[in-house]
């Protein structure tokens, strides 16, 4: 049983680091001269993951628990500024601390480092009815954590990728209040590191993040959000096959796995005022997974403020 758990635990680490802090930006580019800075603190935890044919009282059907929860906490910094009235640029960098109850195990060693570095350009391309639209291109890399990416307590799968993104959003009146809706859709071309029978490894990903926020007063907004990541291809959940991609050190095993996850969450926003920055509290929970944790819980607190003046 311990061996099974060990294998299961190994699988559970697969992809969770990629789940942190996705958020819909929408199509609204930052004005030139303005500098948006966001800082977020997050905490993530999971203990169950998908496993066909297994049933567990805690994790439910087709899911199994790991003996020790895997947890991540960290801070994410995000910066955005306008280049022209329709073009802006953004970059983000998370600092992550991953740990479990078995720090002596090399697979579960405590890991602290820089997560996925991201940068992107976004351009407004007009409107379609009430929807504002934008398109973007980006790059992201996990090169700073490649040497720990094989761990279960990883802080990312170490892959470098290029993104093409589409953004849509709308604001309007709804009853006696107003709403803001935005959705981001990205295709991520992940630079190949190996070749398999099923294609280049790692497989590409389709990602989306969407949020609908309703202003319940002039100070508070309340809403729902949904984030999804879908790997287009990857290795099946076969321990022997995955082990061919390496182990706890210098491993491509998590990037190679065919894995997807969908999270649903809620968000409370406190709008900024002259004396207060923008504040946001959000909580997400996995609602669907393939070869991934089924019970990922992610809580984030973020603060945002602007510097500079519109040109």
């Amino acid at each position: 049983m311990t061996t099974l758990f060990r294998k299961l635990l190994t699988t559970a680490g697969a992809w969770a680091a990629a789940t942190t802090a996705m958020a819909s930006e929408g199509p609204w580019t930052t004005a030139p001269g303005l500098h948006n800075v966001y800082a977020g603190l997050f905490y993530e935890r999971f203990q169950c993951f998908t496993l066909d044919g297994v049933s567990d009282p805690t994790c439910g059907e087709d899911a199994a628990p790991v003996p020790t929860p895997v947890q991540r906490t960290g801070v994410k910094l995000f910066y955005r500024t306008g280049l022209t009235s329709k073009l802006d640029v953004a970059a983000s960098a998370p600092l992550i601390h991953a740990f479990s109850g078995e720090a002596d195990n090399p697979d579960l060693a405590t890991t602290t480092g820089v997560g996925l570095l991201q940068a992107r350009l976004r351009r407004r391309i007009g409107s379609l009815g009430p929807l504002d639209l934008a398109a973007g291109a980006g790059v992201e890399s996990g090169f700073l954590h490649r040497n720990t990416r094989g761990r279960i307590t990883n802080i990312g799968d170490g892959v470098t990728s290029l993104q093409a993104s589409a953004y849509a959003g709308a604001t309007g009146l709804l009853g006696p209040r107003f709403y803001t809706f935005s959705t981001d859709l990205s295709y991520s071309f992940r630079l190949p590191e190996a070749q398999s029978d099923i294609g280049r490894i790692p497989g590409d990903e389709l990602r989306f993040a969407s949020v609908m926020l309703y202003a319940i007063s002039s100070t508070f907004g309340l809403g729902v959000s949904i984030d999804g990541q879908f790997r287009m291809w990857g290795e099946p959940l076969d321990f022997a096959q995955l082990s061919s991609y390496g182990s706890a050190t210098d491993s491509l095993r998590w990037a190679a796995l065919d894995a997807s996850q969908l999270k649903l969450g809620s968000r409370l926003a406190i709008y900024p005022s002259e004396h207060r920055p923008y504040l946001q509290l959000s909580a997400h929970r996995a609602i669907w997974s393939v070869n991934n944790p089924t019970d990922t819980t992610l809580v984030e607190v973020a603060v945002g403020f602007d510097a500079g003046r519109r040109h």
Partner: protein
């Protein structure tokens, strides 16, 4: 006698509904409620003759501000102000001008051109602004 007359005038002022006004260059005599909502929520950017819409909001806390928010848009005034701030932020624009107690015309003159102005003022209209009839549909 003077006191009674003053009271009557004050009551008349209290019961007179504010009106939507526009500068003559906007060439608009009437608007539907939907059009008014689109204008004051920044969705409509130009008049039918191509002149940009320039919104001048009534002073904060005035009866015109309250009428615009509650009667025309169906929003509490503070929520409307938050909505405008969000729109301006997200669309990279600026907040609409807000009239001071000197009036809309003095405010827009101080800011430059008065072409394409639309606002809400106490009735009767402040010349040269002209009243815009709001159609019920």
């Amino acid at each position: 006698m003077h006191g009674t007359l003053l009271l009557v005038i004050q009551l008349a002022a209290l019961t007179t509904e504010p009106i939507v006004v526009a500068s003559p260059s906007a060439q608009v005599q009437s608007l539907s409620r939907k059009e008014v909502r689109h204008i004051f929520t920044l969705r409509r950017k130009s008049w039918s003759n191509g002149i940009p819409v320039r919104i001048v909001l009534p002073p904060v806390g005035s009866s015109e501000d309250k009428w615009l928010s509650e009667e025309l848009l169906g929003l509490p005034p503070d929520v409307y102000r938050r909505f405008l701030a969000e729109q301006a932020y997200r669309r990279g624009g600026k907040m609409p001008l807000r009239a001071d107690k000197a009036g809309v015309i003095k405010t827009v003159k101080a800011a430059g051109s008065s072409a394409g102005v639309v606002s809400v003022v106490p009735s009767p209209a402040e010349p040269p602004l002209v009243p815009v009839k709001i159609q019920s549909k």
